[in-house]
Structure formats: C-alpha cells, structure tokens
C-alpha cells in the first residue's frame, strides 16, 4: 500500500484533485504521500510536537483550499514545502513576539522545554545541537535544517525559498561553522 502511494506521481494527484467528485480521493493521496515529510520539515523548524501538529494541520488546510488554483508553475513538491515553510516562519514570528527577548534566552528556554518534552528523547549532544540551531539567525537556521536534516539540494531549497543558490551556500556554511563551534565548546 505504501509503495503504491509512493509510486503515484504528482501529476496523477493533481488530476484527481481537479476532477469532479475525485477531490477527496486526490487529497487523501496527497496526504499519504507528503504529510510525513512535511510534518518533519515543520517539526525541525518549530521543534515541539504540539506546535508542529498545529502548523501541519493549518498547512494542509491551506493546501486543500488553494490546490484548485495551483497552476503548476512550480512542482507540487516545491509548492507544498513553500507553504509549510511560510506557515512555520509565521508561527515562529508570532511565538517570538510573546516569548523571550533575545536569541540566547530563546535557546535556553527551548533547551528547558525539550528536556521536559515527552516527544524528545535525544541525548546531550542532540540537545546541544538543537540549542546551537536556535542561536542561528532565521535564514541560516532554515537553510541548515533543510540541508542537514531534510537532505535537500541547494537547487530545491532555492526553489522553495526563492533565494539564489550562492546565497544559500553562504548561509549554510556560516550556519555549519557556528554550530560546529558551539558543539566543540560544549564537548570541551
């Protein structure tokens, strides 16, 4: 069954979604193919499960409402990731407004929350990695997560974020260097 869903192309999903009486079936297939990947993309950005769950649901509701207007100028994959990324960024900005004042405070608070989170069972180095990621500026953080965890190519990230490949490479390199330094300090 899983193999069958993975074999379905984006074009087939789009054709079903736009066919009268087949919208639900098409959308169900889209969920089966993409919901897990998009959830993890969102989770890496917002970190906590409850937040990721809310953002993922909002994201897919927007996808459902907008898919009839999807013109196919980009791939379905790119369009979905763009929506998920924007939803996550919007969520993080709202959360930041009512939360900590500085990045340092934010990272400390996140580390405390992760220790208490039942859906996080990482070790000290994984916790240190999450803390280091939170200390990055927003753009570097997003690019690092997409490349390091999601293993996307620069070209894919460029299409999703609408940024040049050169700029993305620079952001990723800066992010990696900062995290490496932070991890080394933690180990030392």
């Amino acid at each position: 069954m899983q193999t069958a869903v993975a074999d379905i192309t984006d074009e087939q999903i789009l054709a079903l979604v736009k066919e009268n009486g087949q919208q639900e079936r098409g959308f169900r297939l889209l969920l089966q193919k993409y919901q897990e990947r998009l959830y993890w993309h969102i989770r890496h950005m917002v970190v906590e499960h409850e937040d990721a769950n809310d953002v993922a649901q909002n994201c897919f509701i927007k996808v459902f409402r907008g898919i009839q207007r999807f013109e196919g100028k980009s791939s379905l994959y790119t369009w979905l990731y763009r929506i998920a990324t924007n939803e996550s960024i919007t969520f993080l900005k709202k959360k930041k407004k009512r939360g900590a004042d500085s990045l340092d405070d934010e990272a400390l608070l996140l580390a405390e929350r992760l220790k208490a989170d039942v859906y996080f069972d990482g070790n000290d180095i994984q916790l240190a990695l999450q803390k280091a990621i939170q200390l990055l500026p927003e753009k570097q953080r997003i690019v690092f997560q997409m490349r390091y965890f999601q293993e996307m190519s620069y070209q894919q990230i460029s299409e999703i974020l609408g940024t040049s490949v050169g700029g993305l490479k620079a952001s990723y390199h800066h992010a990696v260097k900062k995290i490496e330094r932070s991890l080394t300090e933690t180990e030392g």
Partner: protein, 177 residues
C-alpha cells in the same frame, strides 16, 4: 554522487564534529505519539470536508415550526399577556377620549343651572344681569357679553334708541315698588 554524499563530503570539510554526528545517524531525538500520522490524516480530512448537507426547508415547514414554538407553554403565556395589555390600553385610551358632555350622567339641565345661578346670585354684577336680561329679550346677548355695559355705553345706547324702541323695551314691565 547523491545529495546525501554531497552533504557528507561538505560537512567533513567544514565541521568534523557535525559530520561525525550525521554519520552516526542519531537523528534529532524527536518523536511523535503512536499512530500519529494516521490520526493526522483523519483530523485534516475532518477539517476540510464539508459538513453534511442541510435538508431544504419550505416556507410551510418554517411556519409550522414557528407556530409550534409559539404554542408552547411559556411563549403562549407571554403572547396572551401581550394581547391583554394591548386590549387594556385600547380601552383606557377610548375611555379618556370621551368628553364630559358625552357622558350622560354629567349633563346639566336648565333647572339645575337656574338653581346654581340663584344660589350664587350675589356673585354676579347687578347691572350685568339686567343687561343680559334685556338683551335676551332683543336677542343681543352675545353683543353685550362681548362689550360689557359701561355707563357711557349705556348713554350712547339710549341716545341711539328711538321712542318706539324705548317704549317697547319697557312694555309689559311694571315698576311697582
């Protein structure tokens, strides 16, 4: 070379600690509740699916529904109270709009009027009473009432009268004192 290989090579050059961590494939330590993704599909579909269609309601059904609502105990009592209040208001307004002359019990007859005048005869000016009396004889009551007789008016009146009028005025009157 796959993207995974590219990322690994890139990391080994830039950040050995991160590269080692990636190679261990420890992941993030993030977890989800059991059967989470199945539940997520159900939740999302429940959000986006339209609610069950509402059966069409005709005007007749609406009327019957409203009537049955009105005829329930509390609304019926409220409706009855409003009707009683409206009727009481209408009766009150109608009663007040009738003048005292329209009420038979309040009408005065001539005998009662005369009795009232006799009882209060001292309150009236004697001259005025005489003038009214004489004017009644000639049908000039209104004129006199409009211009009360002063002494000079009386003189003018006498001058204007000819002899016949003067005689007719005192005709049949006796001056026995």
């Amino acid at each position: 070379m796959s993207e995974k290989e590219n990322i690994k090579t890139e990391l080994e050059d830039l950040a050995p600690t991160l590269a080692k961590l990636k190679a261990e494939n420890l992941g993030t330590g993030f977890q989800v509740p059991p059967s989470y993704f199945r539940q997520l599909t159900t939740d999302i579909l429940a959000e986006v699916q339209p609610s069950s269609p509402v059966p069409s309601v005709t005007w007749y059904d609406r009327l019957i529904r409203q009537l049955s609502t009105l005829l329930q105990a509390r609304p019926a009592l409220a409706l009855a109270s409003v009707i009683v209040l409206i009727l009481a208001g209408m009766w009150f307004l109608r009663t007040n709009s009738l003048s005292s002359n329209d009420v038979p019990g309040l009408a005065l007859n001539n005998e009662e009027l005369e009795a009232y005048v006799l009882a209060h005869i001292e309150d009236f000016d004697t001259d005025l009473l005489i003038d009214i009396y004489t004017a009644e004889e000639e049908g000039k009551t209104e004129e006199i009432m409009e211009s009360p007789l002063l002494e000079e008016n009386l003189d003018n009146l006498l001058l204007e009268m000819d002899e016949e009028e003067f005689e007719s005025l005192f005709e049949g009157e006796s001056f026995d004192e």
